[in-house]
Amino acid sequence: MSIESIKPAPKELEGVVIRFVGDSGDGMQLTGTQFTDTSAMFGNDVSTFPNYPAEIRAPQGSLYGVSGFQVHIGSVEVSTPGDSVDLLVAMNPAGLKTNLYALKKGHTVIVDKDAFTKKNLEKAFYETNPLEDGSLDGYHVIEVDMSTLTKEALKDVDGLDNKTITRSKNMFSLGMVYWMYHRSTEHTIDFFNKKFKSKPELIEANTKVLNAGYYYAETLELISNSYTISPAKMVPGTYRIIMGNTATAWGLLAASEKSGLELFLGSYPITPATDILHELVKHKHFGVKAFQAEDEIAGICSAIGASFAGDLAITTTSGPGLALKGEALGLAMMIELPLVVINVQRGGPSTGLPTKTEQSDLLQAMYGRNGESPVVVIAASTPADCFNYAYEAARLALEHMTPVILLTDGYIANGSAPWKIQSVADMPEIKNRKVTKFTENWHPYKRDAKTLAREWAVPGTSGFEHRVGGLEKDSVTGNVSYVPENHETMTHTRAEKIRLVQNNIPNLKVEFAQQGDLLVVGWGGTYGTLHSAVKQITEEEGFNNIGFVHFNYINPMPKNTEEIFAKFKKIIVCELNSGQFAFILKANFGKFDFQQINKVQGLPFSNDELIQKFKQLL
């Protein structure tokens, strides 16, 4: 029973940002996800970001127990979950208190008035009721007795306990928002039918409340008209909404299938990387071997062992875990085995801000090991392209016999966006360097002339029995060697091997102005915010002298890097740390002057702060 009734003519919008907030138990993630999926299926571009409380079972109604879900939908390309919010749905006082800052002045907030009880107000540290004391002046407030109306809608449904009734009020708010944005309830009702297959009373209850909210919004005089966001122009194809961490896991599955190698994951849980482990453990049907180790060190060591034995081996972690893995990573580099290390960055140092985002592990990834131990470092830039860069990390590791660190971050890992589904058949080839038939004079450190990658002789292959280890080895035989000149040769060879990866990665592409006054430089998870800021400056404010280049390959960098820098008068490097990429660029391209925009608040850049700073330089 979906709804197709008469509606007032909707107002056309290019994009809208909605934030659903409430208590952890209020089902805000589900509400947000449903709105996202429905909009995506309608054809909008979408980008989302969840915000869960750090506590697992925070006290009900408390400020730190607020759970939120932000979604940005658009009829034009949407590349971030959005900074400020056009519509806030607050299911309790704590949600309102902690999120009102994000709502644009003059815009709408929907609240569940029933939740604004004396007790809840106290828990949110409100001295007076914000719905009554004028503190919401300047906003368009829609107060709804949501709990009461939900009970009312369910009075004829049998077999529901009080808890179930209270818990379905989130569907009331979703129904209202569906009506406001001219969305069909059909997808969500289908979802109920599937999810509660064996519990018909829950299908009935949720559908009733959803529809009640929808009709309520329609008849409510407070909402004068609804809005619509037309489908975005997207490349035709089959899509799904995907979270960054899921995309990472799936990229690895794809690489495993393409390379014909079994996938091994050795990992230890750590926020915000754990969801990759959660995803990969599900896929035993593809033969995935996911091993939860006793710590990060055992995690990477098991992966090194699996790589030695011939699997496509992965270890996943976040900053503190990468620190623990350092010594073992050096071993993997030294014994030149393929290994993918994924670091989903969070706010550091130390335990830092586990649930917040930052790009401050770049130098750790580059240099955080004893001795000179170069590895390939790449970074994903959007939730969806985590798929491609996870795949790419595996490809480079296998083709060059080296550890590859893939950097993602909490922002893109937990965010979701449409992903044009990629079939493994369409993915680039992955060659591996496994040996088969023994020939005389074979040595474990015999290298390919073009890439300097050694061969991969795995146990079980007769004739190739050999030993590898962390001690320096002779450049020809691979036997332990302490000869001074040999050590220098090997040090240079290991560095050169990584540099040669340049021949196997794409060139940089500049977006917007191809030359001019200002080049905006970014890397990793800031792509969306930087891109939309440069786009706005170019398209809405008429600047045609600002270009944008984004790095996914950091060690080595693409061949045309210098050439691109030379085309602009000023270069500004933007990153969520105190200037780590800028530091690397200055060391490598000393003849250019790199200016910086840095932010270390555990938060992404906001559009406004970027635009303001770019303008100062133009």
Partner: protein
């Protein structure tokens, strides 16, 4: 898989071209030779054998074996070996470690590899000292021991690797003197045959930094009187003339003399290495006189690979996902035209 089809090897097939660099007289040579003698008896192809070590004198071992090998980092061999075995369960995987490597820096990995019961073997070279770093006390050094880092005597009480291992739910534990190649060779073969994690503790003499630390129990002269060599199903009898035995009195093992006070062979405990309950095995490990050697415990249990394999087969058979396409295009997808 084993037995019939396997090539015939001699110990020479397992000797690598690398010059062995331990100090002359070090028990490590005995362990190396015993392993090279044991391997041809195991019925396993050379290319299917992997030695993984940490760091220490003992951990140089893989370089001297003409098999696959990884000389890894300090304390971490269990992690690497676990990955090797899970990636390819057909391999015969051996961890080579020292008392410092296994029980100090690698203590965490040591207990967890035992707990999981992966079918691999651990040879722990216990010399109660850090050899490679030139003589500091280790977690197995005794109180009062004078070392480079305890010139006035060690003040940190030790633990026993065997007790620690059983506390971590080890299924197989054996102990042997570093000067007893014959028994050691046999124990290596038994450990290989045992399905599950096997731990062999070798009481290894370090001639340079802790010379003679086991002589009072391992010396040829006193060995038979000071050690009891345990064999499954056999009575716990020891002594040069097989005159002594062990009985249980209350909660303690007691040494008795056969023929005295009416004790006959029938009164002596019979060793049951396969018993699930580790209580008696723990008591044997704790015993100061005689020192228990041989296979103390060999309890047959399901291995991690077996559990994993069974689960994977079951899930594979029941799954609609054969290729990643099946997964990627499943569920909530939508078309953009």
């Amino acid at each position: 898989m084993e037995a019939t089809a396997v090539k015939k090897y001699t110990y020479k097939d397992f000797v690598s071209d690398q010059e062995v660099r331990w100090c002359p007289g070090c028990d490590d040579y005995v362990i190396l030779n015993s392993m090279q003698k044991a391997l041809p008896e195991m019925g396993v192809e050379k290319e299917n054998v992997v030695f993984v070590s940490g760091i220490g004198c003992s951990s140089r071992f893989p370089y001297y074996m003409n098999t696959y090998g990884v000389h890894s980092i300090h304390g971490r061999a269990p992690g690497i070996a676990t990955g090797v075995k899970l990636a390819n369960p057909d391999l015969s995987v051996w961890i080579i470690t020292g008392d410092g490597d296994a029980t100090a820096i690698g203590g965490n990995h040591f207990i967890h590899v035992l707990r999981r019961n992966i079918n691999l073997n651990i040879v722990l070279f216990n010399n109660e000292i850090y050899g490679l770093t030139k003589g500091q006390f280790s977690p197995t050094s005794v109180v009062g021991q004078k070392t480079k880092s305890s010139p006035y005597g060690n003040t940190q009480p030790p633990f026993s690797p065997g007790e620690l291992a059983l506390g971590a739910n080890a299924r197989f534990y054996a102990r042997i003197g570093g000067n007893n190649p014959k028994a050691m060779t046999q124990i290596f073969i038994e450990a290989h045959r045992f399905k599950g994690t096997s731990l062999i503790e070798v009481l290894q003499n370090c001639v340079i930094f802790n010379d003679g630390c086991f002589t009072d129990v391992t010396d040829k002269e006193v060995k038979d009187d000071k050690q009891i060599y345990l064999e499954h199903g056999k009575p716990m009898i020891f002594g040069k003339n097989a005159e002594k035995g062990l009985v249980l009195r209350g909660l303690k093992l007691e040494v008795v003399t056969i023929g005295e006070n009416g004790i006959t062979e029938k009164d002596i405990l019979v060793h049951d290495a396969k018993e699930k309950d580790p209580t008696l095995h723990q008591m044997l490990i704790r015993l100061a006189y005689p020192i228990a050697t041989g296979i103390v415990r060999a309890f047959d249990d399901v291995t991690l690979e077996e559990r994993e394999d069974e689960l994977t087969k079951k899930i594979k058979a029941g799954s609609k996902y054969k290729k990643t396409d099946d997964l990627f295009f499943s569920g909530e997808t939508y078309e953009v035209k």
